[in-house]
Symmetry: C2
Subunit: 482 residues, 2 copies
């Protein structure tokens, strides 16, 4: 995979600058820019195989929980997306230029665009649920694995086109939903080979009660959550500074972190909830949030999921969350592998009805980064090959070679016919080495005379000359495709 | 699947008009547009399953021929796409608005955009081959199945976002390439259940020689091909009229169609080639094209492909074709299921080197339209269900229900847990009927007391109460997932 984050394209770099200077752009004819657009990547075959391996496991697990696939268009009407992601998000939306007569020379910027590329998979889901209400069951459990686009500044691991793997359950406010989402996501990470992930959970209602206890004024609470969400990046000291600068009393901040840190080492969810309740009782407060999480931990026990930990400092940036919030972390990655939560108000923005909803989003690119660094791909995926066997071709035996290839394919083998009968055996061998194929088949003059085929294992160097009907079983025996 | 081709969005319809009239747009607040953007579609689960079934077969066959997967970004630098599709194509490219400081109020239209959505998969392939030359093998056989976008006027079966399934072989000018492409595409259509498709082939060099024979001037030949490409839509009479209007002598046109029609009923490729050669000999002409197609028919015989027919009227619109051209048709579809050809000059537009190439593109949307009309989907795809079994949940037995669900999943069943333990048995039954699930499991008071599970087949109405360890095998026995 070749990333173009560091190579500005001619348009954004050289030529555009030249044009601004009024210089004649004759260089454009000579220099052909073959880079992918800034912040995007070409996925060569070995990359695609790794991506499809991970996506395959994600799909399989979600299907096993009864989630159904949904796909939405790559672009939406502009007004579907605006106003959903906050001011910062709004700036990162890729807008599409109007076309034909609708595009007027000299029009104001705000009138230039009518469509925009998908920014996430949650807002399109909310639109779909409102739009197709009559075609969907009362409870709609869907997954969606598609790219999204954000005009962010490209950086290591941050792209302008990247995949999200979302799973959401619509229509129920039972904690069964959260339990199933967490269980499914755990199954996925286990199947991929992660053995050190932690799913941190919190509840917006518990955060609310905590802020009440520490005397944070109602109008300050949303702001506090946004700052708290930076904890991963700027640490406790940084968050304390920002909160203090925004007028939150220091004793409230210290009190909050004191409670958070006391609970950090508590790995048992039910005990953590009991301790939070005991703390609230001291202040004669109660929180629906603790009731909700208590029932969640009971359900998770039945589903056999044990990587879940309460973390009162988890805030999640998005304003639309209304209940449980969740995030997955592994030790060697700053940021999360995925996150989600309950958002009972979003669908109501597209329809007359408030419909409860809860979801989880896995970040495909981050999962791939960690798996790549840890070399977690199974050998048949890591050693990506285009074929199980390459059949050589020579003018004299081309008929027999094609017939052999056809027969091998009928035996479910992936068969590459060398694509040029004019090349000699040396070139054909060289190519077989280049593409790293394990077996080659040769029908030369001798084999033709005896009506046989020479099969060579390119890894061990072993070769044997056998009747063509024996070739498939030899290759199958030596081919690992699990 | 709900199409929005006939429902203009508020932006392009109502509100935009109101705005042009200067009317205050307060209606926008009240009316929430939940349509997908014009010319695009939401794919609900049953749609996605059908699409994935077809894509799965296409992938499997291409892989069996040693083609490897490639994915390219959804948008490209604008100059990568411009000048590749002719003037008409250029108009249909979706352009993306510049962002931040690069977007200047009052800028000329030509300076508003720096990126554009992918218009086809061939030009990105040519860019990738030129860019990653050192990472790719000498012969590169790739397939690519991704959406493309065209700002066409939406119509029945014509969308602004649609999938192409491309397969191309780069680096060889042997007719083995054409033979393999045709063989692979035939295998796909056979596996999907098509038994009446015809692959029409022609060769640009044969067309050239024919035009020479009929005295069409060199400067008129490209124009003649473009008009000839409309034959499917406007018929022989229409083409004759347009050609005559453009100054092509009537005796040339009639002569051309005379040859074309004489060959129409010739189903044997080798014989067709002999007859074309005999015709050319009468005029003391020769064509490399007939040599090429003769060798192609010999190779196809060895691969067992027999649905290929020479059609001298096949022209293909795209100007970049240089050799063999191909198109697949079925009787009940105007237009083609796919097409392709050899384009030995395109990659050279992105690099210093001319690299031969030949490819085939299948139109996923058209394949789906015909399969839908002919009801060609296997029953387990057509009767799309989210799960093999739904497990009911009641407060009293929720623990046992979750444990059962976990065990059934471990037996590779797709298990939906009813997502709300507060609902009664009546509601849960109603939902099971709504989602069309075949089996349900119930653990009520009686089952709980006996440590058993009631399994009900919703299709036959049969039910039995059994130990939980017997449930999986009962459901597996009654579940068709082939």
């Amino acid at each position: 995979m070749v990333r173009s984050t560091k190579l500005p394209s001619l348009v954004e770099g050289g030529v555009a600058a030249a044009s601004a200077d009024g210089v004649v752009r004759s260089t454009k004819v000579l220099m052909i820019n073959t880079n992918p657009a800034r912040g995007t990547r070409d996925f060569l075959p070995a990359d695609v195989r790794k991506r499809e391996y991970v996506i395959g496991i994600i799909k399989e697990v979600y299907e096993s929980y009864g989630f159904e696939p949904l796909e939405t268009p790559s672009f939406e009407n502009l007004e579907t997306l605006t106003g959903k992601y906050g001011e910062e998000g709004n700036q990162l939306i890729f807008r599409i230029l109007k076309r034909g007569d609708a595009l007027k020379e000299g029009a104001a910027i705000k009138d230039l665009s009518d469509l925009a590329l998908r920014y996430d998979l949650t807002v399109p889901l909310a639109r779909v649920v409102a739009h197709h209400k009559n075609d969907l069951p009362k409870y709609f459990k869907r997954y969606q694995i598609q790219p999204v686009w954000r005009a962010d500044r490209p950086a290591r691991g941050r792209y302008r086109e990247f995949y999200q793997c979302d799973v959401d359950a619509i229509g129920s406010n039972s904690m069964l939903v959260e339990a199933e989402l967490i269980s499914a996501v755990s199954d996925i990470l286990n199947k991929l080979g992660f053995d050190d992930f932690v799913i941190r959970i919190n509840h917006r209602e518990i955060l609310e009660t905590l802020l009440i206890v520490f005397g944070v004024a109602l109008e300050d609470r949303a702001k506090v959550l946004i700052i708290l969400d930076k904890l991963d990046k700027i640490g406790e000291f940084g968050v304390t500074q920002e909160l203090a600068k925004d007028g939150i009393p220091l004793h409230a901040i210290n009190g909050f972190f004191n409670v958070v840190n006391q609970l950090k080492s508590e790995t048992d969810g039910a005990t953590a909830i009991r301790r939070i309740n005991a703390f609230f009782e001291d202040f004669e407060e109660k929180s629906i949030g603790t009731d909700k999480l208590r029932s969640l931990f009971a359900l998770l026990g039945n589903l056999g999921t044990n990587r879940v930990k309460v973390d009162l400092s988890l805030a999640r940036g998005l304003s639309y969350y209304t209940g449980t919030i969740m995030e997955i972390n592994v030790p060697d990655l700053t940021g999360s592998l995925g996150g989600g939560g309950r958002y009972d108000g979003l669908i109501g923005m597209f329809g007359k009805e408030q419909i409860p909803a809860c979801g989880f989003s896995l970040g495909l690119e981050r999962i791939l980064v960690v798996m790549e660094e840890r070399e977690m791909f199974p050998s048949h995926i890591a050693a990506s090959t285009s074929a199980d066997v390459m059949v050589m071709v020579f003018e004299v035996s081309i008929e027999q070679s094609l017939t052999l290839a056809k027969e091998l394919r009928q035996n479910d083998l992936r068969v590459l016919i060398y694509p040029n009968e004019a090349d000699g055996i040396g070139k054909q061998f060289k190519y077989a080495n280049q593409i790293n194929v394990r077996y080659i088949c040769i029908i030369g003059d001798d084999e033709l005379a005896e009506n046989k085929v020479t099969v060579k294992n390119m890894v061990t160097g072993e070769q044997e000359t056998v009747p063509s009907e024996d070739v498939a079983s030899i290759i199958q025996a030596g081919t690992d495709r699990k």
